[in-house]
Symmetry: C2
Subunit: 182 residues, 2 copies
């Protein structure tokens, strides 16, 4: 897959529109100069601006301690073309393999954080951990998105939505209703 | 819309498969014997079994204080046929109207909680608040799902996924990949 850096800065006030529909995401972290990727679905918006995101990462995952100590990650949003790599990242551990190399994914430098962005994803959110006080009890981290990037060529990104046991719903059509909701 | 009570009990260990894909949900509560409905998208799974769910409800919403004091709600999952009612519930407040009546939705009795279930939704999760200690800082409630119901006729429920400003992604096709992920 060719990586074209066509990404533009996305205003932070728009970030909720990417995460609120509930896509599977790839979380990148860096530990001892070695980047890693994990697949995650347990996330939600907590506030609009600055965009605050809650996410749950099992304390059995390699990423848990990395995130707890380094306090930085990127949330990368893949589309259906990356489905096999998304499952691959979810079925392996960064303890023993380099997932960027194994799954032929491109690590691009971020602007505000140390962990790299996944070039093949249509959107990338650079995040800092602002509260890890619920990590011990709930594996829950509170993140602030400090910079966001998007490939505007994806008007209707065909994101993946995990249904469990290897099943994914692929984003379908978009509808619009008159609404006062943000 | 005719309400046929074809719903069956869903094992609690399966609940994550309904919420993890990120659907818009209708949250029902009861305050002073008066049931209410709000539209919500900011939720995530926190644990599999018992199913623990995190959700963010603005302290400007009527539901916030109701949930804080009564500590019970149902999470009802609508499909695209209910889109106009979902937006209607999101654009009105239970302070001044009876949303069940206004939007012609059917309040069915729950088994383990006081708030009613929305009959027209394909799945209903009866929940108790198990932790509201983060409500003051983050509007975050921790819920335990104590009983779950599903209409098995919906093999591929066309759920709604909020993109902001009245736009919704409608659940598309389902794909399956070999995976060890739960």
């Amino acid at each position: 897959m060719m990586v074209v850096m066509a990404k533009k800065s996305l205003p932070l006030a728009q970030v909720y529109r990417l995460l609120e529909p509930g896509p599977v995401v790839l979380v990148t972290t860096t530990r001892n100069a070695r980047p890693n990727i994990m697949t995650m679905s347990w996330h939600m918006m907590i506030d609009f601006e600055p965009p605050i995101v809650g996410c749950v990462i099992s304390n059995r995952d390699y990423t848990f301690n990395t995130l707890k100590s380094t306090r930085e990650c990127a949330i990368n949003i893949p589309t259906v073309e990356l489905a096999a790599k998304v499952v691959g990242c979810g079925n392996t551990t960064g303890r023993s393999i380099d997932k960027f190399r194994r799954f032929h994914l491109t690590a691009l430098p971020a602007s505000r954080i140390d962990p790299p962005l996944v070039g093949e994803c249509y959107a990338n959110l650079e995040c800092k951990v602002v509260d890890s006080s619920m990590a011990a009890k709930y594996n829950l981290f509170i993140l602030e998105v400090v910079k966001a990037w998007i490939d505007r060529a994806h008007k209707h990104p065909r994101t993946l939505h995990h249904l469990g046991r290897g099943y994914f719903m692929v984003a379908g059509k978009t509808i619009k209703l008159p609404s006062k909701m943000k």
